[in-house]
């Protein structure tokens, strides 16, 4: 029975939703390089973990690829100038998450050729895993799928844990986004090369690339270019959101569930976004750090949807202007996909390393704002990929019962938004869960600090 179910599940996970994918707007648009803007803004906080430490001063000249910020600690990466020019200031600047962040502003030198300084390209096959990791860290590589988790951390499995499978995430389940799709289509050999490096670094011999079936050309391209000496399998997954979430992808590909609160390594896998893999490959091909990335600019609110190679730090304003600007009925500018992306109120916010797309929605797509009471239809239970009861959690959130929510596994919620998407009453469930999770985390942090302040042994009572 179990195996039968697994067979049926192969290429998918249970629950999830099917929003219209709208990939057709940009899927066939080749990646184009966007011209350098007048000004680049590089926030020092672009990745999960500690922000980078500032290395430059106003007035200083930087070349393309120079470090402007250094990694601060293990879970952190450096930040590099994505264009040559002069540092005009280190200011508080609008960050795409809605806050302000300390950012290095660089006035791009219009006369520069923007060719990076010549660098040594390390011969990857001579390096031991630690050196590979250092190189990856030094190049500032983070997960390009959106979470921006420093990649080198993932390349070092914890002591005593073996990696069976390297899982390459090419699902790209967010509607509109096609940047990963284009990478797989246009640079399959780069993907395979990146896999080769990672496999060696992780000491694993097997890799699986998971791609949703709505990208048959990418699947075919990848399959056709698999190097003979590598055990790489390309699996076509059923189209479903949130296929691209790590745990869902692992479930879909291996049939195994990552235990609650644990990491993919606990089921012998490491998941890496296909864009990050290509970025790793680039380090060892060109020696350049991560200073530009492929961004899908799409949505009905954009005049000319495109896939662009954009210097990190380019302001949304400039990217959108390059795409012909917004249509008159544009209503929402999102950084990331429409399911989990962050709404932008200030177009001066820059493209970050983790920015996979800029989607502009019009009033027609924007969801209705009138919220009705929960009618317990249960659609959210059918949608939740981690099998929570969002209906109940929502009622508890409204009553302010965060303790009950935690008991009911709030912390397993990954905020994918599936519940809000299907909710016929427009209840902002995932937003309420995000708030609750934040409050719970703060509370836990406070408790931890209080315990620490009490000193060893003294915190027991709390």
């Amino acid at each position: 029975m179990i195996t039968l179910l697994d067979g049926w599940l192969k290429g998918g996970f249970r629950h999830g939703v099917h929003p219209p994918d709208h990939k057709e707007a940009t899927a066939s648009h080749p990646i184009r390089r966007m011209p350098f803007p007048d000004e680049i803004v590089l926030p020092l906080r672009q990745h999960a973990g500690a922000p980078a430490r500032l290395l430059v001063q106003p007035g200083q000249r930087v070349e393309r690829g120079d470090k402007v910020g250094e990694a601060q600690g293990y879970v952190s990466v450096p930040i590099h100038a994505s264009a040559s020019g002069t540092v005009t200031g280190v200011d508080w600047w609008p960050h795409p998450d809605g806050s302000q962040a300390e950012a290095v502003r660089i006035a791009v030198d219009p006369h520069s050729a923007q060719i990076p300084r010549p660098r040594l390209v390390p011969r990857w096959d001579d390096l031991n895993p630690d050196q590979v990791r250092d190189a990856v860290k030094d190049a500032g590589v983070v997960g390009l799928g959106g979470a921006a988790f420093p990649t080198h951390v993932k390349l070092k499995p914890p002591e005593g844990m073996a990696v069976e499978t390297l899982l390459v995430n090419g699902a790209e389940c967010e509607p509109y986004l096609t940047s990963d799709h284009r990478v797989m289509l246009e640079h399959p050999e780069r993907v395979h090369f990146g896999i080769r490096i990672m496999m060696q670094c992780l000491g694993t011999s097997r890799a699986v690339i998971g791609v949703e079936r709505n990208k048959p050309d990418a699947v075919a391209r990848l399959r056709a270019t698999i190097p003979d000496d590598l055990d790489i399998e390309v699996i076509a997954l059923r189209v479903k959101y949130p296929q691209g979430a790590e745990k869902m992808l692992i479930k879909a590909v291996t049939g195994r569930e990552v235990p609650s609160g644990k990491l993919p390594i606990h089921v012998g896998t490491v998941v890496q976004n296909v864009g990050s893999i290509a970025a790793i490959a680039e380090i060892f091909e060109t020696g350049y750090p991560l200073i530009e990335r492929i961004v899908t600019v799409s949505g009905p609110g954009v005049v000319r949807p495109s896939n662009l190679l954009v210097p990190v730090g380019t302001k949304l304003r400039d990217v959108l202007a390059f795409c012909g600007g917004l249509t008159p009925d544009a209503r929402e500018v999102l950084m990331g996909g429409p399911m989990m992306g962050a709404p932008q109120g200030d177009l001066d916010a820059p493209v970050l390393k983790g920015t996979s797309g800029i989607v502009v929605l019009t009033a027609a797509e924007a969801k209705p704002t009138r919220v009705h009471p929960c009618i317990s239809c249960g659609h959210c239970l059918d949608a939740c990929p981690v099998f929570l009861n969002p209906s109940l959690l929502g009622k508890e959130a409204q009553a302010g019962r965060y303790g009950d929510m935690v008991e009911h596994h709030l912390m397993d919620c990954m905020l994918c938004g599936s519940c809000s998407y299907v909710c016929p009453s427009n209840i902002p469930l995932s937003q309420m869960f995000a708030l609750a999770k934040g409050a719970v985390r703060r509370e836990q942090q406070r408790a931890k600090e209080a315990a620490a302040a009490d000193g060893p042994g003294g915190g027991k009572a709390a």
Partner: protein, 191 residues
């Protein structure tokens, strides 16, 4: 056998102690906020009801034929003392069981469901065996009503109940609706 079944079903569903006869309303309205508590309270009730039924059968058969006017007093005194003794025995023999059920016992003894059972059983002329089924049915009915009410109230607690209904008004309307629903059991197993 058929008659015993009817006694059981009637006490549990058709003439449910709480929802139809209004006996045991105290825990029903005051205690039924958590399902776990309600179920344990119900179990303790079953226990006391069985003791009561046996006691009442004994008293009716041997004592009260001679002095019917002492019925009420003797029921109250004897049942209360007996439960007290059993409670002490449980406390000594099984602390776990005591924690689960025992703490409810003193509060149940003078609950009107208990005295009601003794009186109804006497009025209907039930013997010991019939009385036992009557007590089991009544206890099952009390437990059912209590736990239904508790689970509903756990849900309603998350609701946005209007201010006027919070003053027990809603609980009574809930009880009324449950009572209405239990009318569906009328005539069960009689025809």
């Amino acid at each position: 056998m058929g008659e015993l079944l009817w006694i059981f079903v009637s006490a549990m569903l058709v003439n449910n102690f709480t929802l139809v006869l209004f006996l045991g309303l105290c825990p029903f309205l005051g205690v039924s906020a958590k399902v776990g508590t309600a179920v344990r309270m119900g179990a303790a009730n079953v226990f006391v009801l069985v003791i009561t039924s046996l006691t009442a059968s004994f008293l009716n058969a041997f004592v009260l034929v001679h002095a019917p006017y002492l019925r009420l007093i003797s029921f109250i005194v004897v049942i209360a003392s007996l439960v007290q003794i059993v409670e002490m025995a449980i406390k000594k023999l099984s602390p776990t069981l005591f924690r689960e059920l025992g703490i409810f016992l003193p509060l149940i003894t003078t609950n009107c469901a208990i005295l009601g059972l003794a009186i109804f059983q006497t009025n209907r002329g039930y013997g010991a065996l019939e009385g036992l089924f009557f007590a089991l049915g009544a206890g099952a009915g009390l437990t059912l009503a209590l736990s239904l009410m508790a689970s509903i109230r756990e849900r309603v607690e998350l609701s946005d109940v209007p201010a006027v209904a919070r003053n027990m008004g809603l609980v009574l309307v809930l009880a009324g609706t449950l009572s209405l629903a239990f009318m569906g059991f009328a005539g069960l197993f009689t025809s």
